[in-house]
Symmetry: C2
Subunit: 193 residues, 2 copies
DNA sequence: TTAACTATACAGACTAGTCTATATAGTTAA
DNA sequence: TTAACTATATAGACTAGTCTGTATAGTTAA
């Protein structure tokens, strides 16, 4: 009948509950109830709630990587692929909007964790990866190297726009803020060429 | 001896614990212990933990308004006062850095709350107020009105930089990211004149 | 005296995680 | 075909502690 593993059911349920209500506010009982799974199935697949959280964080990042791959696959140059980074986030936002868009799940997860936690470090690594993607795409472009106009600085500028717009879009329930940030990034790249 | 009211002790303790460990993860017992106050003093001053959270959110915002007022008081024009918005956040970041900087306390608080909560709405109002401050300062400047170069669009761009840089600064433990965002905003304004 | 405070105890629901025992489906081998 | 074995799932009771909020009685200071 149901050939979906308990592990996948748990990750799906945790993904929904953690994103909608926050991680700390979501108990393991709520997760197993939503997953329709026995409690021991949680603890057979994950050593602890912390490990489930870590898997959730990785899954959210992978989810975004997949959305980005789909958006950037058939694009011909770095400029367009940088803009596809925004498109991938917008896809994600519009998907979550039905249940209540609350911004980036990774930043939200980090916001609940102590400063030196492994979870915050994992989110940091994922965000660095996004920045590296932006930087790699920009490096393909013939940027005019004015003072302080390096690809690295431009990549950071674009990432600030990205994360800022997602947070404020989630707060003000205005998903379109992400596409306005995309237009800002577009103009920045145009000026840097 | 101690002429500090129980209410103020509670707000101070809650401010530290909520910021460092998150709101949901902080129990009222931890707050009263840190405040050195009886539990009934909490419930005499606040109807519930929710009301303490609301007071915490307002206090964080007021704290930033005070930092901004101190930074912008003796400045002569809107350009400088927009940059003072970044300075005020940097002051806040450097203050928190001793205990572990975790980005903006208001965005972190919002990240723990459900999509339609009063707390998220309060944080949204505060962020709108920051944007209005930026917009008001920009409105004093003689901006050249190119296509899509309105004061409103520039204000939004600067706010994206602001929030994005604070979040990423908190994640990567690189407070200097805020001053790099300040430099980006500076150049944007220069170009818009 | 009045108001704000303290200390302690309590109710009742919830927390993460463990335990035993059982069911079921797929694989392997005689 | 039948039997043994393995992996994964289940139910549900249980521990030991935490959570918010309340109740009660005593204390301190203006």
């Amino acid at each position: 009948m149901s050939r979906v593993s308990a592990r996948d059911k748990l990750l799906k349920a945790a993904g929904e509950l953690f994103y909608d209500h926050g991680i700390t506010a979501t108990g393991v009982d709520a997760v197993i109830t939503r997953a329709g799974v026995a409690k021991m199935s949680l603890y057979n697949n994950f050593k602890s709630k912390s490990e489930l959280i870590a898997a959730y964080i990785d899954a959210r990042h992978q989810e975004w990587l997949d959305l980005f791959a789909r958006r950037s696959d058939n694009l011909s140059n770095g400029w367009e692929r940088v803009l596809a980074v925004f498109d991938a986030y917008q896809d994600h936002a519009e998907f979550d909007y039905q249940n209540g868009f609350r911004g980036c799940g990774l930043l939200n997860a980090a916001a609940e964790m102590p400063a030196d936690s492994a979870e915050r470090e994992a989110v940091n690594r994922h965000k660095q990866e996004v920045r590296d993607i932006v930087l790699n795409q920009l490096s393909e472009l013939p940027l005019t190297e004015e003072s302080g106009n390096s690809a690295a600085a431009l990549a950071e500028h674009i990432c600030f726009l990205l994360e800022g717009s997602i947070s404020l879009a989630g707060l003000s329930r205005d998903v379109d803020a992400i596409s306005r940030a995309r237009a800002m990034a577009d103009k920045l790249i145009e000026r840097a060429l």
